[in-house]
């Protein structure tokens, strides 16, 4: 399993290398190799064993994970060079940073590949621990508070998820047999129809609360804006683009168990309610944001709300829309964070009030930011438009009333995003206007993919997503 081995070896190497220039390059190289290994998994799929599994569902997530991991490492190389010059990070912390970056990718890949609910839990925990360290790496008041809050809330979420995992084991024990079989996805799914439904219901509530905390759903979202705003920007990109997806993946797997069991509650309404709440709440919160990274963190909550809503609606169309929306959101949001990172470095602040006229002073950076925000707000011709349109239209077909609420939520956040981005991108230039050494390649690559997906989705991709959508039930 190269996807796991590469980050592990790279993390060990990076922890040992003191020179940050070399380690930044090594980081890029290791992430590229992981991406290639993930593509290799598509071509040659190993048979599942007790611990690891590759199927159509998780290969979507793994490919997305390694792709964004790779582009983020490219962005991170130019980002940290600037941080090193301004003295915000010392070489010693950079060593931690690179080693942790690879460990985090390891944790996320392991969580996605795991065929075992226990192993998956351990992997999510590993990813959480490494991101906590990264969020607190600047060691300012705000960074430490953000890391602490994330740590405590994340830990409680993880503990509840473990309790839910134990309950799933108990529900499965009677029919799947005692021991390892009752913790392996493939055998769990095969026996799910005969599980005790009442126990499975309670387990799902714990799992929804636990992993839902990590997805950033509305009542449990408090850690998310702080963690995004105070950590290094590459980490904000990975948190939004990948870590939320990993927790979502865990939820989807457990949802499949409930879908296969006819006596249990339908998980859909719960997910729809939480998703709508997140969407509308985050939409209103967007108006009051003064910090640009916090604003995009709330936009992530909003989008996770839409995605969870779409998966809650279920059905082949709902799942397809959710999957597409998730992919588009990961790509777009990380591109936005890449450009926001450079903007914040130029301006020396993250406060929206101290930025302005970006399209005049830094045309490329300013316009890519505008393009990214237009994409995330759901305007055509970008891919987010396609997926949001699918979510809305599939909801209209089933529950018109819910669709109205969904559209309201979308419009609320649409207004906030456009209003804020106009202030940053147009008008009188405000704040420092020094030159910028940005790496545009990752931003263009992401936005390019999103643009292409908005105009034309390749046939094999559609077929793949459709198959996954029917798998999810």
């Amino acid at each position: 399993m190269l996807v796991l081995l590469i980050p592990l070896i790279a993390a060990a190497l990076l922890a040992a290398i003191p020179n940050y220039r070399i380690s930044a390059r090594l980081n890029v190289l290791a992430s590229l190799l992981s991406l290639l290994a993930a593509i290799g998994l598509l071509l040659h799929r190993p048979a599942p064993n007790q611990y690891l599994l590759v199927d159509d569902l998780n290969s979507v997530f793994i490919l997305l994970n390694t792709l964004v991991g790779f582009t983020t490492s490219v962005f991170s190389a130019s980002y940290i060079a600037h941080e090193q010059e301004t003295g915000r990070l010392t070489p010693r912390y950079l060593r931690y940073y690179h080693a942790m970056f690879q460990l985090m990718l390891l944790g996320m890949n392991l969580a996605l590949l795991a065929n075992n609910i226990g192993l998956m839990w351990v992997a999510v925990e590993l990813a959480t621990l490494t991101t906590v360290v990264m969020v607190g790496i600047y060691r300012t008041h705000e960074a430490i508070e953000a890391a602490w809050k994330y740590f405590i809330l994340g830990s409680v979420g993880i503990a509840l998820a473990l309790f839910g995992t134990i309950l799933v084991y108990l529900a499965a024990r009677a029919s799947a047999g005692e021991g390892m079989d009752a913790m392996v996805w493939t055998s769990l799914l095969a026996h799910a129809h005969s599980f005790d439904p009442a126990l499975l219901n309670i387990a799902f509530v714990f799992l929804l609360l636990g992993y839902g905390t990590k997805v950033g759903l509305a009542p449990m979202h408090a850690w998310l804006p702080d963690a995004h705003a105070e950590g290094p920007t590459p980490i904000s990109a990975v948190l939004s683009g990948l870590l939320l997806n990993v927790a979502l993946y865990a939820l989807l797997r457990f949802k499949m168990l409930l879908a296969a069991n006819h006596g249990s509650i339908a998980p859909g309404p719960l997910m729809i309610a939480l998703g709508l709440l997140s969407l509308i709440f985050a939409g209103f919160m967007l108006y009051r944001r003064r910090d640009i990274k916090r604003m995009f963190a709330y936009s992530s909550i909003e989008h996770m709300g839409i995605i969870v809503f779409a998966f809650g609606m279920a059905g082949p169309l709902g799942n397809f829309a959710g999957l597409l929306q998730m992919t588009m959101h990961s790509l777009t949001k990380s591109a936005i964070f890449f450009s926001v990172g450079h903007v914040a470095q130029v301006k020396g602040t993250q406060r929206i009030a101290e930025m302005g006229g970006l399209t005049e002073t830094h045309p490329v950076l300013g316009w890519t930011l505008v393009a990214g925000v237009l994409a995330i707000a759901g305007l055509p011709p970008f891919g987010v438009f396609t997926s949001e349109f699918l979510v809305v239209s599939s909801t209209f077909a089933q529950q018109p009333l819910l669709a109205v609420m969904l559209v309201c939520g979308l419009l609320i956040s649409f207004g906030a995003l456009l209003w804020r981005v106009t202030a940053v991108a147009f008008g009188e230039p405000r704040g420092p206007t020094g030159p910028v050494q940005a790496s545009y390649v990752p931003i263009f690559a992401h936005l390019g993919l999103v643009l292409v997906a908005g105009i034309w989705l390749p046939g094999p991709l559609v077929a793949w997503f459709q198959h996954v959508a029917t798998m999810l039930g």
């Binding site: 590993l126 008041h141 890391a147 602490w148 809050k149 473990l162 309790f163 108990l170 126990l199």
Partner: protein, 220 residues
């Protein structure tokens, strides 16, 4: 003697709930840490008894971790942190102790009411263990929300985690329990080291989380 085995398991799990209640009315940090050590000790006994009646030697490792790590090392480290930060004063609670105790009783009733009917088909030892473990988890959450002080919130989290451990030990034949409890111990170690490294006292002059709130980006 299955009846005797069940009685002892039941008693130890019940004792854990009782010690959780003891945490609710502590108003000094040192006393709270002593109760935490007792909590972990009772957990170690309960897990060891489960290992004995389930004939599962791996569970003894979990019990040993609970005894050495959670009952000795962690309370000792927290004790040192409290001494160094000089915060061994009274704990500020959000609501009164009487009300908290009533809420705790309500939570125990809730978890028994929720868990006992749905585990009707499970064997009695597992059944009681899971129900009582859920009570411990919920009381742990209650401790976390009623305390303002960072150290006592960590104590609340640790007791919550002990409840999850009890559930894992009670689930008969569950594999990977040892691995899971090791992973959890790493998490706990990180939290305690975090208290040390982040030096919340040094940075904020208090470990009162209300003071931390002031540093939020929004209120700058």
């Amino acid at each position: 003697m299955p009846h005797f085995a069940f009685d002892v398991a039941h008693m130890l799990a019940g004792l854990l709930v009782l010690v959780s209640f003891m945490m609710l009315y502590q108003d000094r940090l040192y006393a709270l840490l002593r109760v935490l050590a007792l909590h972990a000790f009772v957990l170690a006994c309960a897990v060891a008894w489960q290992a004995h009646i389930q004939n599962d030697p791996e569970l003894f490792i979990t019990a040993a971790i609970a005894l050495g790590f959670k009952a000795a090392l962690i309370p000792w480290a927290l004790h040192r942190i409290v001494t160094r930060l000089g915060i061994h004063r009274e704990i500020e609670t959000v609501v009164g102790i009487g009300l908290t105790m009533l809420a705790g009783i309500g939570l125990v009733a809730l978890s028994l009411d929720v868990m006992l009917p749905v585990t009707a088909h499970a064997d009695p030892v597992t059944r009681e263990d899971i129900a009582l473990a859920l009570s411990v988890v919920l009381i742990g959450l209650l401790i976390m929300v009623t305390r303002r002080n960072a150290v006592s919130q960590v104590v609340g989290f640790l007791s919550l985690e002990n409840g999850v451990d009890l559930a894992a030990a009670g689930a008969q034949g569950m594999p990977l329990v040892v691995e899971l409890s090791v992973a959890f111990s790493v998490l706990i170690a990180f939290i305690v080291i975090g208290l040390f490294l982040f030096r919340i006292r040094e940075r904020f002059d208090t470990v009162d989380l209300q003071a931390l709130d002031r540093f939020r980006g929004e209120r700058r």
